[in-house]
């Protein structure tokens, strides 16, 4: 909020910024409209308006029926990878961020340097090396091959570190110690509630990363029963290129819509958290 008198709103500025909104929303509108079209209308009608038939529900039913309902399986896989991967990554980042912020232990500086260096090397840079190593360890084509790499979130750790430094007063930890509470008990009972807004932010960003994960599943998984949604849609789309492959662009489109709904809804409802959380953490120099 500005403390000065409310500023005059500008129609011109609103319209110009509106162009950017058209740019960002247009493909999503197209996706929404296309999901309501039959295969025939998809090819024959104008992209930015409805077709002759309203086939959204048939399309959804087709998506879930195709290949013995494998799409439902992909949804469950994705949920599993997200809950274990993003959830685990958030917990690990919170514990480590708090540990780095509140304990002065031997090797703390070294840990910090290594982890900060890790932020500059994204998981994708190491995808092929991780694959080669996991192949040697016999971990490829198992759910672990997807989950283990996503357990790591150096940026999440960085956010939790800044958050812990600011949101958890050292005095209340000291008094808890005087009362004889164990360190982990103190963390869960006292620190965690104070860290909640930061925790939700980190969780949201880890959620996006695991929900959208593609490169790692692509190289790790052969068995289609283990695919997450992204890889599944990719494989459906790719079918059109194989000789005798079934062309199912209508299913790819409706499947895409179903894939983006959960995260879009999460972001719409949790606006307060991701906006505040970023403001508190990511911009500290």
């Amino acid at each position: 909020m500005n403390t000065t008198a409310a500023k005059k709103r500008s129609t011109t500025l609103t319209l110009i910024t509106g162009l950017m909104v058209i740019y960002t929303l247009l493909p999503l509108v197209w996706l929404l409209l296309s999901s309501t079209k039959s295969q025939e209308d998809l090819l024959g009608s104008f992209g930015l308006w409805f077709g002759k038939d309203f086939a959204l529900f048939e399309n959804i039913a087709d998506v879930f029926a195709y290949q013995d309902g494998i799409f439902g399986r992909w949804i469950l896989n994705t949920l599993f990878y997200v809950v274990v991967g993003a959830g685990g990554a958030t917990i690990l980042a919170a514990l480590a961020g708090y540990g780095l912020a509140k304990f002065d232990f031997v090797g703390r500086k070294a840990v910090f340097a290594v982890v900060l260096g890790g932020i500059a090397v994204p998981p994708t840079a190491l995808a092929v090396p991780v694959f080669l190593m996991f192949a040697k360890m016999g971990l490829t084509d198992t759910p672990w091959a997807v989950i283990i790499p996503s357990l790591l979130s150096p940026f999440g750790l960085y956010l939790m570190w800044t958050y812990s430094t600011e949101a958890v007063p050292t005095e209340i930890l000291e008094s808890a110690r005087v009362d004889g509470a164990g360190e982990f008990r103190t963390f869960f009972k006292l620190a965690l509630p104070l860290l909640a807004p930061g925790l939700v932010t980190v969780l949201l960003f880890n959620l996006v990363a695991t929900w959208n994960n593609f490169f790692i599943p692509l190289i790790m998984l052969k068995n289609a029963d283990l695919y997450p949604l992204t890889l599944g849609l990719y494989s459906w789309n790719r079918q059109a290129n194989t000789v005798g492959g079934d062309v199912v662009f209508d299913l790819v489109i409706t499947g895409s819509l179903l894939t983006i709904i959960p995260l879009t809804v999460a972001f719409l409802f949790l606006q307060k958290y991701w906006q505040q959380g970023l403001a508190a953490g990511s911009v500290k120099q």
């Binding site: 403390t3 500023k7 709103r9 500008s10 500025l13 609103t14 910024t17 909104v21 740019y23 960002t24 999503l28 197209w30 090819l43 992209g47 690990l92 480590a96 540990g99 780095l100 002065d104 232990f105 703390r108 840990v111 290594v114 932020i119 090397v121 994204p122 840079a125 190491l126 995808a127 092929v128 090396p129 991780v130 080669l132 283990i148 357990l151 790591l152 360190e183 963390f187 959208n212 593609f214 490169f215 190289i219 949604l229 992204t230 890889l231 849609l233 990719y234 789309n237 290129n241 895409s256 894939t259 983006i260 995260l263 879009t264 999460a266 972001f267 970023l278 403001a279 911009v283 120099q285």
Partner: protein, 288 residues
């Protein structure tokens, strides 16, 4: 003190274990692989730095590296420039419906790159996309956005679409933490909106811009998902060495050249770190 020290390790331990397993160990293992060569006949033999000299004189690797560098130099400034303009516009308080703008521009960040690229492939496809509709309706012949000449631009467009809101948010957050009394003082001094942007807002955005810049450097050098997905919609435009990551992937999977693939991945990891570090050093010079 010793008890506290042990507790600190207990808190950071689980994270470090995973870090060792998916960061450190693969790097070490790749470094190990990179000094060997495996052949169908003759098996594995130690070759020293031969894979590295091979990489540096490999025209396909250079072409891939040049392509992502070009991408970095053109796409990233455009994206960050637009994100900056939007962040300033939203922060100005002069828009009708600020909240709507913020969420609408951020929303594509929630869309997986696979879906974003598939949408672009359909939208820009001449077969049944919008470009096809436009060509048909107006009897035009707009250049094929998925053809070899335009594919990199199209990928730049997809990446810009996905990340403009995320970068806008990083910058917007940087603007939100500015002490508003600075604006009041500037207003009393008779400073206009542009002067406030130049004298107060832009200097405050230096840190956030560096953060956004580093993420973009990493993203450009590691470009993979978008070209990989487009490959099935525009097979003639994406080569097996389109980006370094695609090259490393192809070498491992199609080429069975695991040792050379590890070398390429390692070189790119180190290159990304060096460029990101140099960028940070340069752009933070004179501050702090």
């Amino acid at each position: 003190m010793t008890r506290r020290s042990w507790t600190g390790w207990q808190f950071t331990g689980p994270f470090l274990a995973v870090f060792a397993l998916v960061y450190l160990a693969p790097i070490i293992y790749s470094a190990y692989l990179s000094v060997f060569r495996t052949q169908l006949v003759g098996g594995t033999s130690f070759v020293g730095l031969e894979n590295y000299t091979k990489a540096f004189s490999d025209p396909q690797f250079w072409e891939a590296l040049t392509r992502v560098s070009l991408f970095l130099l053109i796409q990233v400034p455009i994206m960050l420039g637009l994100a900056l303009l939007v962040a300033l516009a939203i922060d100005s308080g002069r828009l009708y419906g600020t909240g709507f703008f913020r969420i609408s521009i951020f929303l594509p960040y929630a869309v997986p790159s696979v879906v974003a690229t598939l949408m672009a492939g359909f939208l820009y496809g001449v077969r049944f996309g919008l470009v096809g509709s436009i060509n048909e309706t107006f009897g035009l012949n707009i250049a094929d956005p998925l053809g070899p000449d335009w594919i990199l631009t199209t990928i730049g467009n997809v990446v810009t679409w996905q990340y403009i809101g995320y970068n806008m948010l990083i910058l917007y957050s940087g603007l939100k933490v500015i002490d508003t009394s600075l604006y009041e003082a500037a207003a009393i001094d008779g400073a206009g909106e542009w002067r406030i942007i130049r004298a107060i807002k832009l200097p405050a955005l230096r840190g956030p811009l560096v953060v956004a810049g580093i993420f973009s450097i990493v993203g450009s050098f590691q470009l993979f998902n978008e070209p990989q997905v487009l490959d099935s919609l525009a097979p003639n435009s994406i080569t097996t060495y389109f980006t370094p990551n695609i090259y490393a992937y192809q070498l491992s999977f199609a080429g069975q050249q695991v040792n050379y693939s590890a070398t390429i991945a390692l070189i790119m990891g180190v290159a990304t770190m060096i460029v990101a570090y140099a960028f940070q050093r340069r752009s933070m010079k004179g501050t702090l």
